[in-house]
Assembly symmetry: C2
Homo-oligomer: 576 residues x 2
């Protein structure tokens, strides 16, 4: 997995390169960080010619390690103005692995983008004009691509929102069965891809084979150990049965479930949109509904679902916690079928559910529609796809929506909407939102897992917690594995190093792995500084420091000065 | 002029204070800079509770010096995120002077703003609910206020755009006759006022008298000398006869007149919208049309006009260069009556003509309407006033418009639209746009005046030129006088110090005055740094560095590194 494909979206020039020695130690998120700092003008316009869109494999991408095969989509974000990595499962990673592809780099942009497909096969790649894909929704696009380029390919595409260059646009992909629509949602990277005129990328790995690991026996052994720890961990079964929505009841109990534009941390209809309810409905309704599906082939956790309507016909797959939190409780919507439909609509027009759900909440706060107005919300999402003025506002994300509609209560940090954990009652994640180079992104360091062992309302120790979690997040995103395998790495901190050593023949220790994570964060931070990011803007929004959040009536009260010291916190123990 | 009025827009608390010794040396723009650095959290949300709206008199505000009586409106800008001072003539300054008011500070904000009028009389002030003013356009608001509070009052108000908190909103006022509508346009300060629920401020100076100068004879002598130099300067007569539109032909000749969203620096219909044409039409049409009016009582330059339609009925007063450049050539509109109408509409809904004209140009580039489509442009401005989604986009300024409509060619720096001088062929002003704490604002340092003596296409010496002009701009804005009296200060650099000494009994030299300007710039810069501004973002937009501008096919090519050294440039000569 040492090939890099450079595609100039303006000139059509395509070049294959071999990664240099330094690049070989980068993967996924860390590849993006280092590549951007090395080659991309940090002051570039995110939607201009000098930004890049990267699709990168993780370091374990071509191994059979469970969950490995997630990919990192990266670029300078039109929302945050800083570097952004958005991580997604699906079928692409395994195809990239077989093609030996460490990364695909989309460079430059045409003056007038028209839809093209980048088709990558073994040893060759080409840009193909596909004008009939213009404005097509994601599922229809993917269906056409499967027909044209074979259903064994890995696919990435943007929806109409990405083509329009809307800052809330996402990049969509599917699992290997084509049933699930998976999304690299955060940061507006769909707009970066869209303005380059690349409607889709097709990874056809026919005839290609993955590289052999340096020590197959050691890789198998470490991989088995990983699986055993995961299988023994009760969280794994819980995730398998209930998926990410499993945490909704917990978040509601903790009082951090965003409700009606982050006015409350508890939602009176939480039960109706909970993971338990979803599992029950899937079981009861039958039909196309499914639980316990993997998003990456070979994942033993398999936390995804297919959510079907009462008649058993698929509404959306997979229905996940963040989407429910933002499109459901945050919009005052307690009807899980309605939430699933809204989720589906976001996917189809190709916008991030988090920024869009937050934008809908702000539109409701503005009085444009009432909280709980499902039909109104659906209409707004349709308008995003149609590119009406109002649709474009919503599709540009929560900050633009707040600005244009005149709403002050905007749940965002540095241009990007907050995920479904209110930081006033889960303070550790507030530190991550404020300080992470990724902006408000729960996957960058979610303190929810510490909520039982460490009082989430206390302001003590949260900076350290966030720092640890941020390092771990950067490691996992660079390996190309799922955050949900962390119990194995926590139990055996040497495991990640052993997996890497077996794959590459390195002699890394736990400390080397941790330093890789740290180095990734510092590299991203340095890019952001050069891009003009200021520590001054690293904070939760003003209202969260003053407006008490029911039920705990808590405010976010970690002093800014304490957060500013995060990068010099001394961590004494193993970080995983 | 040592009184400061603090009004809490949330609690209704009103306090009169006397300025402390330090504050007495601040005026207008420098008062705003120092006050903000001293008292306002630089990280505050510009449209939140912690921002302030300041109306400040200049240091010469209560003297009979010609043009003195301009006021500074200030706050943290919702467009730039930094400090902003917007300078305007009209009748308020003279009333503030008689009331002894150095500054009015609007603090805090109500949760739900409803229209109130701040009525300031001799020794007392009150907030009065005026719900019937809600949503009223500026001229109607001012007419009602004159009826209610007397036609001798000085008035400030916001239009519907300010009430909606749109980032492109301005603060409007009138001259002492009520004929002209003058505007503190830049930076979106109308939104800052609007979200505080202050629809208008009425300055009723009845029974009040200005303070006496320390040395009336010296003040009169210096003032007369100033007037003599101005009268002897040929630019004064030119301004009197043709107003600011006098420069349009020059700008077109230099190739810096923004045309069709800054695609060209020359407009084929320039003659039809020139100062000469306006003067000719005013003369020919008669009726209400006028030339040579003062905007501040007692101004001997008197460069304002009343522009009337063919039937002699007023369309707009005053019609000025920036408005013509942005609403005319930049929108491909060569019909001066149409430009005047668009100008009038901007004034009425209460938005900055520069940011709004640039937003219209971007909307035209987006294909929403054609360049030159007058009726389409009028409709969009009406929509701003009505608060439709599209109207709100346009009313939020050019950067939001570009973001939402998917346009990359956005003529703005740090969130604020460029005035009507394309920096690719007037490079000195590009340095000002990039580096001034005010963002893209021609009044912060307009290199146009150097275009004859210093090649505007050369990149040599432009950083020094901008620095000099920025210092002078800060001085003039702190004195409360017009930029157009600079010929007198250039001819006799000691004049400003002599005026100040005569007024206050100080012993300032030319150097002290210059240092006041420098200190103002540094104070603003420090506030912006604390607000999270980064030098990295101090540059012209990307396209201006790569896309050649006809007719000179020039790009902006002053190296960023050279611009970054601006604050340490050594100026050897007198700066004025």
């Amino acid at each position: 997995m040492n090939r890099i494909l450079r595609v100039n979206a303006r000139t059509g020039d395509i070049r294959w390169q071999s990664s240099c020695e330094e690049e070989q130690t980068w993967g996924g998120r860390s590849f993006i960080a280092h590549h951007f700092l090395k080659e991309v003008n940090p002051l570039c316009d995110p939607l201009g010619r000098n930004n890049r869109l990267i699709v990168a494999s993780g370091l374990l991408g071509d191994t059979p390690v469970t969950t490995a095969g997630r990919i990192s989509v990266g670029g300078k974000s039109p929302l945050t103005g800083g570097i952004k990595e958005s991580n997604v499962g699906g079928a692409v990673g395994k195809r990239m692995a077989r093609l030996g592809l460490k990364a695909v780099l989309l460079e430059d942009a045409p003056d007038t983008p028209t839809p093209r497909v980048l088709l990558i096969r073994k040893g060759r790649a080409e840009l193909i004009d596909q004008p009939d894909l213009q404005g097509k929704r994601t599922s229809e696009t993917l269906k056409i691509l499967r027909k044209r380029f074979g259903d064994q390919s890995g696919l990435l595409c943007v929806g109409p929102a990405g083509e329009m260059g809307l800052s809330g646009a996402c990049v969509a992909t599917t699992d290997h069965t084509g049933v699930q629509l998976r999304v690299a949602g955060r940061g507006g990277l769909g707009a970066v891809m869209g303005v380059k005129g690349i409607k889709a990328i097709v990874f056809d790995a026919e005839g290609a084979e993955s590289a052999r690991p340096a020590d197959r026996a050691a890789l198998t052994a470490a991989s088995r150990e990983l699986n055993k720890i995961l299988r023994d961990d009760p969280k794994t079964a819980n995730r398998h049965n209930f998926g990410t929505p499993a945490v909704l009841s917990l978040c509601n109990a903790l009082g951090i479930l965003p409700t009606r534009n982050f006015r409350s941390g508890q939602f009176e209809q939480a039960e109706a949109i909970s993971g338990e309810m979803i599992a029950e409905l899937i079981d009861k309704r039958g039909g196309e509904g499914r639980k316990g599906l993997p998003c990456v082939q070979g994942c033993i956790i398999a936390c995804s679902n297919v959510f079907a309507d009462p008649s058993g016909k698929t509404t959306v797959a997979s229905l996940q916690y963040e989407n429910i939190g933002l499109l459901g409780s945050n919009c005052g919507i307690g009807d899980i079928d309605a939430v699933a439909e809204l989720n589906h609509l976001c996917n189809q027009v190709g916008v991030d559910t988090i920024d869009t759900g937050a934008a809908l909440g702000v539109a409701m706060e503005a009085g444009l529609l009432a909280f709980g107005d499902v039909e109104g919300a659906k209409d707004l999402l349709r308008q995003v796809g149609e590119g009406t003025p109002l649709g474009r506002i919503i599709g540009s994300g929560v900050v633009t929506t707040g600005r244009v509609l005149g709403v002050r209560r905007v749940p965002a940090v540095k241009g990007q909407a907050m995920p479904a954990y209110d930081p006033r009652s889960l303070k550790g994640i507030g530190v991550t939102y404020a300080m992470s180079p990724m902006g408000a992104d729960h996957t960058a360091g979610n303190a929810l897992e510490t909520a039982r062992s460490h009082d989430p309302l206390s302001r003590e120790g949260q900076v350290e917690i966030s720092f640890r979690l941020q390092i771990r997040g950067a490691v996992l995103d660079s390996l190309g594995v799922c955050l949900f395998i962390r119990p194995a790495f926590v139990k055996d901190p040497s495991l990640a190093a052993r997996l890497l050593n077996a794959r590459y023949g390195w002699k890394w220790s736990y400390t080397d792995v941790r330093n890789m994570g740290l180095d990734c964060l510092h590299t991203e931070g340095e890019f952001n500084r050069r891009a003009g990011a200021s520590e001054a803007q690293c904070d939760v929004p003003e209202f969260m420091r003053t407006e008490p959040l029911p039920p705990h009536d808590s405010v976010f009260d970690i002093p800014k000065e304490d957060m500013d010291k995060i990068w010099s916190v001394q961590l004494e123990e193993d970080v995983f």
